[in-house]
Symmetry: C2
Subunit: 411 residues, 2 copies
């Protein structure tokens, strides 16, 4: 196992690690209506042009643009009304010179027409005549066949996470099924002789397992499927047996370590044994979260050892577990992350070279968000319960002064 005396910053640590993660979940075909949040496994192509015919973008009158040239409120163009375009059916008439037809938004442009005049720029003078109060140019208020999408065009690229908009796009094209990456299954193993299940009443010196459950919640949030393997005692053989079993059944395995240094070392030894490459990162230059272990199996599956401290563990899930899920799912299209900028209310100390994440409460003011740091000793999950987000003290800063604007990652 390589020893890293120099602790990597989180970003470099994640990069070093993730580029060795070559395992991917296979593709599966699912109904588009159930695909929210899933990642596409291939390019989705338009099966036909969109719109499939020239269509009105507004309520108004379909006209020949040339018939409206020079029209104004004081000098309207008078056009003969030849009919009303029915919704849901093609019009049975055509528009000749000097003619117009009532049309609704989405209605199919009748043959002969090449523009639409919005209703508000018209006036019905007689039953079969409309006054047009404004000139329109060719194509005005018309959505041309294929304007939105040509047949065969890439509608949604491979590696994109499907949002509500994409679900709508698939439905618009009648694409009822979509090929997506299977949800990654994440094996969760807790270690530590002192760790008991939440259902137990801890004896003196024992603590309840928290990290298995916060991790399961984060895995769900990241689009994965958590699978719990229970609590393993501080015994390398028992841990190796459980990690081996989990690796057979899962796409990624996360060990939430006990709080003692010896448990952490044992975890690192076990995780390293599934390489090469094995352990790539042992310790990250961040607070909280320093004793994090990042490894890769010979088959390219990611392995993580998280610190026992629940705050550290939660910070590192966001920094490492969520990006690993994205990698397993083959995510390529990265959307901006929802971060906030906030004004720090007090001075925050930090060691140079170390990236700190402080739990903060946010308060909206007229000048934007203000961030009040929550002070905590290690292990206090409740400092996070009280927090809106984590404020970043960048590695190149030796702390941040009151009044500084800093990035906050919402919890």
């Amino acid at each position: 196992m390589p020893e890293f005396l120099y602790l990597l910053p989180p970003k470099e640590a994640a990069q070093t690690w993730l580029e060795r993660v070559i395992h991917r979940t296979e593709a599966e075909t699912i109904p588009s209506a159930e695909a929210l949040g899933r990642v596409t496994a291939e390019d989705v192509l338009a099966p036909h042009p969109m719109p499939p015919f020239d269509r009105s973008g507004v309520d108004g009158y379909a006209v020949r643009a040339a018939d409206t040239y020079g029209a104004s409120e004081s000098l309207p163009a008078y056009l003969e009304i030849v009919g009303e375009v029915p919704m849901g059916a093609p019009p049975k008439f055509r528009i000749g010179a000097g003619q117009a037809a009532l049309i609704h938004t989405g209605g199919m442009l009748p043959e002969g027409a090449d523009a639409v005049v919005m209703l508000e720029y018209t006036q019905r003078s007689r039953e079969d005549e409309v006054e047009v109060l404004k000139a329109v140019s060719k194509g005005e208020e018309v959505i041309i066949k294929g304007e939105d999408l040509a047949e065969g065009a890439v509608v949604i690229p491979r590696g994109a996470r499907l949002r509500a908009a994409e679900i709508g796009g698939l439905m618009a094209l009648g694409i009822l099924e979509v090929k997506v990456a299977r949800r990654a299954v994440v094996g969760i193993i807790a270690t530590g002789d002192e760790v008991v299940p939440p259902s137990a009443t801890p004896a003196a010196g024992q603590v309840r397992d928290i990290n298995s459950y916060t991790l399961a919640a984060e895995v769900q949030r990241g689009g994965g499927v958590p699978r719990q393997y229970g609590i393993v005692p501080d015994d390398p053989k028992a841990l190796a047996e459980t990690v081996g079993r989990a690796l057979n059944e899962c796409d990624m395995v996360v060990v939430t370590a006990g709080s003692s240094a010896s448990t952490r070392d044992m975890t690192a030894d076990v995780l390293d044994s599934y390489g090469p490459p094995g352990v790539l990162v042992h310790g990250v230059n961040t607070k909280p979260g320093r004793p994090t272990i990042l490894a890769v199996t010979a088959a390219g599956k990611p392995l993580v050892g998280l610190p026992g401290n629940p705050v550290s563990a939660l910070v590192n899930m966001d920094l490492f577990v969520i990006p690993a899920l994205d990698r397993l799912h083959g995510l390529q299209i990265r959307r901006p992350k929802p971060t906030l900028k906030a004004r720090l209310t007090i001075n925050l100390p930090s060691a140079a070279g170390r990236e700190d994440w402080w739990p903060v409460r946010l308060r909206q003011t007229d000048e934007g968000w203000e961030a009040d740091p929550i002070f905590y000793k290690s292990n206090l999950i409740f400092s996070l319960v009280r927090a809106d987000g984590l404020l970043k003290v960048p590695a190149d800063a030796t702390g941040l002064p009151a009044g500084a604007i800093a990035e906050v990652r919402l919890l």
Copy 2:
């Protein structure tokens, strides 16, 4: 039905409407491990103090602080090691004057000790002796019983959405079940003679139903349960029958209108008939999304008529449907919304008094995010597929100049 000639801005419209929504979903008890994203229906109280005993926050030596006073690297304090605190069990010894014990993070502080010296400030001089290189004060590196939470304290207030941190907090306290608001069921009805299901091949003049599916996705995102009622033709009797049935079975009903003005008027008439108060808002001063209808039934359930244009519909789901779900679930604790500030790359026109939402692509630069507006004609769902978010042109601005910093709501 009251007529509103003055179009309300979205915020005022939402407020006017939501304060009349008195219906709430009832409480249900579910396993804490499955409660991610749910809203608490009562205060969650601490069943016992946290931590339940004095505990070390670090790896080190448990000591009497007084024995370390004056200690330094050049003049260490020498303490007798009387044992090692076992993990998962109370120590069987006590610390007397001049004594110390090895302790791990989370270990129970032995009787007699009142502080912990971190391992890095100690040196093991002999098998049974440790040199302390730094003075510690009483309570240092110790997490005192109840420091985190007193027995009976409110851990999570009523009306809070449960995040991973809260799931962890519940587990830390052994709270395996939690009372939350039942997920609101949202009835979804599409209308329009021209609308066909996505499985159909649209004839000329027909369009596929998109909004039922984008809405279902948004309802899921907002923590609700979508229930589809299919496509109803442009017939007030048929629509009233379906809305009535949906209201019996759901907590909220949303009608995604066809694109014609006549369908919208019909929808408004039908929605109004379930009052008083009936229709409270008919038209919102926003683009897209103007022809939005917000109503409340006599039983205080929310009713929405969304514009047929898929872009308008999606913008309005975010502005109205998501907040209504929060209200039905009794959400009280509002976390900051994930918005971004971005620099606009070109001039954007807008009418004074109208709030515009422009689809934009975001690009990260050294100076922060840049937003490129995507131009679209009405109805183009694919402009949203290409977008990262919606940029807000505030109602008090007559457009925004290139270079202006604007708020972007991520899609």
